[in-house]
């Protein structure tokens, strides 16, 4: 009995004219965990609040479980929401917090009790049911907020940056926990975050929003491997993709891309995949190279001339900052065996099959 959440050309204009969400359409499928991600101020929270009914919709329609809810008050939408700062009722016990929605729905006392007990068991809150929120740790409050959402057995889950107030370790732990709970409830979830790592690790699909406009919607692999534009390319992935101003040249069918003193010839397979690339010969493009697609020179392929600027060891690998003669520093992730010293001039291999190309003017992927 799991439903869907669908937004059809939803826009939000605030008084004063700011267009916070611009013609947003997306559908969360039954049981799906969809993450809405973007930098702060991109309109993702506004979009979520419109789905919740906390913010009036300027235009467009919202459906939950195929029911038109655009103009319904929040209480009639059959949704549950987890807030960034948990929004617990400070004057009620944990049990009171979790059962409040059921009480408002006038469920029999016995039913409320058993549902709250069940949810508390699932979240490991059984021993805390009589505490007040202020007696709980951040992680425990987070669980109560989750519990309050799931006892309702809603048609849809909405979550607004629920992990951003937790410390790093707890955040990783709760990611798994939230996914596990959502899988069990099997209701569609719309999850808002500014953290692309959260988006990539949690989402069945990821929707990337910028200035109120949907940039790309796809599985984490999709958006990582085939970003539709420079923005998505730079936003998804950590460390971020190197976006290098470069020129494309074509001599007798041989296409090459150059920046600084580096010249890389583009393999035929890449050209087949990107037929439009030939049209850009002689024009400036933005070349995208993921940090992990660099390798020590002996691994062959195209070689880039770089000067090592700084080396950071993460233990498992090295993050190397390079001067490639293009102004912006380049970032490379290399295995620990690589021996590089700051100031050293060297060559690094780039996986030519994994080059990304973007129109330097429009930023669109080529």
């Amino acid at each position: 009995m799991s439903g869907t959440i669908s937004l059809e050309s939803v826009s939000k204009q605030f008084p004063g004219g700011v267009l916070a969400v611009d013609d947003l359409s997306l559908e969360v499928e039954p049981g799906e965990f969809l993450v809405l991600v973007g930098p702060s101020g991109c309109g993702k929270t506004t979009a979520l609040r419109m789905v919740a009914g906390l913010e009036p919709v300027t235009s467009g329609e919202i459906r939950i479980n195929d029911r038109l809810v655009t103009r319904l008050p929040p209480r009639e939408r059959d949704i549950a929401m987890v807030f960034q700062n948990y929004a617990l009722y400070a004057h009620m016990s944990v049990r009171g917090n979790m059962g409040f929605g059921l009480k408002m729905a006038r469920l029999p006392r016995q039913e409320i009790r058993s549902r709250v007990d069940g949810a508390a068991e699932m979240l490991g809150l059984t021993d805390l049911l009589d505490r007040k929120p202020r007696q709980l740790s951040g992680g425990q409050r987070q669980r109560v907020a989750m519990g309050r959402a799931i006892v309702r057995e809603p048609a849809a889950f909405l979550m607004d940056e629920p992990l951003s107030n937790l410390d790093a370790k707890l955040r990783v732990e709760m990611r798994g926990e939230i996914i596990r709970v959502q899988r069990r409830i099997a209701a569609p979830a719309l999850y808002v975050t500014h953290d692309q790592t959260e988006a990539m690790t949690m989402g069945d699909r990821v929707a990337i929003l910028r200035d109120g406009v949907l940039q790309q919607l796809g599985t984490p692999d999709d958006v990582y491997d085939s970003p539709v534009n420079v923005f998505v390319a730079g936003f998804i992935g950590s460390p971020a993709m190197n976006l290098i101003p470069a020129t494309l040249s074509s001599e007798a069918g041989d296409v090459a891309v150059s920046f600084g003193t580096t010249r890389l010839s583009v393999p035929a397979r890449v050209l087949e995949r990107r037929p439009r690339l030939a049209e850009f010969a002689g024009r400036p493009v933005t070349l995208g190279v993921r940090p992990e697609d660099f390798a020590p020179a002996e691994r062959g392929d195209g070689l880039a001339n770089v000067t090592v600027d700084r080396v950071e060891s993460l233990g498992s690998e090295l993050v190397v900052y390079l001067d490639g003669g293009v102004g912006e520093p380049l970032t490379a992730r290399l295995a620990r065996q690589a021996t590089l010293e700051p100031g050293q001039q060297t060559q690094l291999a780039i996986d030519l099959n994994r080059l990304y190309f973007f129109d330097a003017e429009s930023g669109e992927a080529i």
């Binding site: 906390l54 929040p74 209480r75 549950a80 700062n85 009722y89 400070a90 929605g101 408002m104 309050r148």
Partner: protein, 285 residues
């Protein structure tokens, strides 16, 4: 050396503040347990040689003859005025809290037509000096047969103190996170249910501070009840107390006893809720 000098200076400064604040209260207490003769002695006695509660007895049970030295008291009079003050303070405060909490939430959270303008008018009345209103109120209340009734006084106190209370609670509403009430809306509440079940409990500590300030204000009101009451059906202690000030001679022990009894409730309230009151006064002025 300077540090010791500074510490002594500081100690003396603190001492001066304490004596200044408590001195008059102490004088009132010692006077109230003195006899009329001790007070009249020259040089006068600061602390009575034979402490007595006679002044309190005379005040509460009445003086049968003229030995009260110019001040005539009647049994039950003063206690009636204490009772009036208590009723007025509690009832007015309760009504003001209900009215102003609702208004503070409406103006602080709900966007409704003319809300901004009406709020400006409401808060603007804080600066209207009450005396330009009282004279006309006297006439209007007389027409409505509300002069010298507790009901009438409560109405006036509600009107004069609601704007201030609304302002104090409004600042609190604006500082409160909106999420809990939004969570309540999602949890199935109508807006008013969210207000009653989630917002009001959230505001409880601010409401307590405002309640204390209101009780103190109503208890201390003088000009309004002086004009709008004439008998003990409504006369509060502040007005009653002035009747013990003699035209030529004053019975200081009785006057002081009245003062002490009138200051106990507000003093206790101020001491108990001291932190909340100071926080609210310092924060919102």
């Amino acid at each position: 050396m300077t540090s010791i000098g500074w510490r002594i200076a500081k100690f003396l400064a603190v001492l001066v503040i304490v004596v200044w604040s408590l001195g008059p209260i102490a004088i009132g207490v010692t006077t109230s347990i003195s006899t009329q003769r001790e007070v009249n002695d020259i040089p006068t006695r600061w602390v009575p040689a034979h402490p007595t509660l006679n002044a309190y007895r005379d005040l509460l049970q009445g003086t049968s003859n003229q030995r009260a030295g110019g001040t005539v008291t009647e049994a039950g009079t003063f206690s009636r005025s204490l009772w009036n003050s208590t009723v007025l303070a509690i009832v007015s405060t309760a009504v003001i809290l209900v009215v102003s909490t609702m208004a503070a939430y409406a103006f602080g959270r709900l966007r409704f037509r003319f809300g901004g303008a009406l709020f400006a008018v409401l808060v603007g009345t804080i600066v209207i000096p009450i005396f330009v209103v009282v004279i006309a109120l006297f006439k209007l209340m007389a027409d409505a047969h509300l002069i010298d009734t507790k009901r009438g006084l409560v109405m006036v106190f509600v009107a004069t103190l609601t704007p201030l209370a609304t302002w104090l609670l409004y600042t609190q509403v604006r500082e409160m996170p909106t999420e809990p009430e939004e969570a309540a809306l999602i949890d199935g509440c109508r807006r008013w249910q969210a207000f009653v079940r989630v917002v009001v409990p959230q505001m409880s500590s601010g409401i307590a501070a405002v309640a204390a300030i209101l009780v103190l204000s109503v208890w201390g009101e003088f000009l309004i009840p002086l004009l709008l009451t004439s008998t003990l059906t409504a006369k509060p202690v502040t007005v009653q107390i002035t009747e013990y000030v003699g035209k030529y001679v004053t019975n200081y022990p009785i006057l002081a006893a009245a003062g002490v009894l009138a200051l106990i409730p507000p003093a206790l309230l101020a001491l108990i809720l001291n932190k909340r009151i100071t926080g609210m006064l310092a924060g919102s002025s």
